[in-house]
Symmetry: C2
Subunit: 154 residues, 2 copies
DNA sequence: ATTTCTGCAAAATTTTTGCAAGAGG
DNA sequence: CCTCTTGCAAAAATTTTGCAGAAAT
């Protein structure tokens, strides 16, 4: 049961995430709009790729009549503050996003900028403990590695 | 000898870093200008604070006649590509910088956005090994933690 | 001398916001 | 209905760039 994060989410997992998202929205009085559902779903499909807002917009703009980039930003910000989505600040000057699943690390390619997941539950726990020892009170710990991805090493 | 990172660099350490920077610039045919020296020095003084380009600009603009923000950006980019300075992408939409000293983690406050260092040499080594096992070839690994800093928890 | 760098202003990029019209509960 | 959301355009914010003059080697 390791390295689960390398797998795309199944259709079923995506549907379940959407249900959870709808539930949480209703709970908080946030309206469940077509745009929000489709944006969330698109991110869920691509979570392994850690898309930027623009990527999601590009994927949806022909499917959702009149969709605007600002709606994508607004939806992602909303999901982030609900804890459903995580923002990954990268060195390319754009914010990238992923579904907030179990914590894990990110490997960022210094040439092509792609972000890949690193399985790290064990290390994340170690890290959290150590950080607490040093007097912080973390809600979330991640790690980031830089280097060349397989494709770019050739 | 732990938690060294919490200390500001001493005058002497800063002077040594500057010497090293000058050496590397000369080696690479990069010119040693007043602006570059002062920008590097200002970052060295503030490295614990992880300033953004603008912070460095603000600190220097009255001391360096006519200094412009773009020069600060250009200098920081140059230093980064020389491996002298590290860029820390944060969630506030600005790039922050630090002197590229020994690898360590960062704690980012979710309320005030301040970035603090976490001593983590041991964990960084563990991490690098684990990441290699997973098939990556990292040049550098860092930790990032989110939470509320001491000041903001009150 | 030659090359590189700086300052300025302008451009490019990413993200946010104001507002009127539209959709959700 | 009332509130929240969207789309659009405009604004804001951060970072990069072109170019002429200045500085470094």
């Amino acid at each position: 049961m390791q390295y689960l994060l390398y797998k795309d989410l199944s259709e079923e997992e995506i549907e379940n995430l959407i249900k959870k998202m709808i539930e949480i929205c209703k709970e908080k009085g946030i309206k469940v709009t077509t745009q929000r559902i489709l944006i969330f779903k698109e991110l869920a499909k691509k979570t392994k790729e850690h898309p930027a807002a623009e990527d999601i917009y590009e994927a949806l703009k022909d499917k959702v009549y009149g969709l605007s980039l600002s709606t994508v930003y607004r939806a992602l910000n909303t999901f982030e503050s609900l804890g459903l989505v995580r923002r990954i600040p990268t060195a390319d000057g754009k914010a990238h996003f992923e579904i907030a699943n179990e914590p894990h690390g990110h490997f960022i390619c210094q040439r092509c900028g792609k972000v890949k997941d690193i399985e790290s539950a064990h290390l994340n726990n170690l890290l959290k403990e150590e950080v607490k020892k040093q007097g912080f009170n973390p809600t979330e710990c991640n790690f980031v590695c830089y280097g060349l991805c397989k494709e770019c090493s050739n």
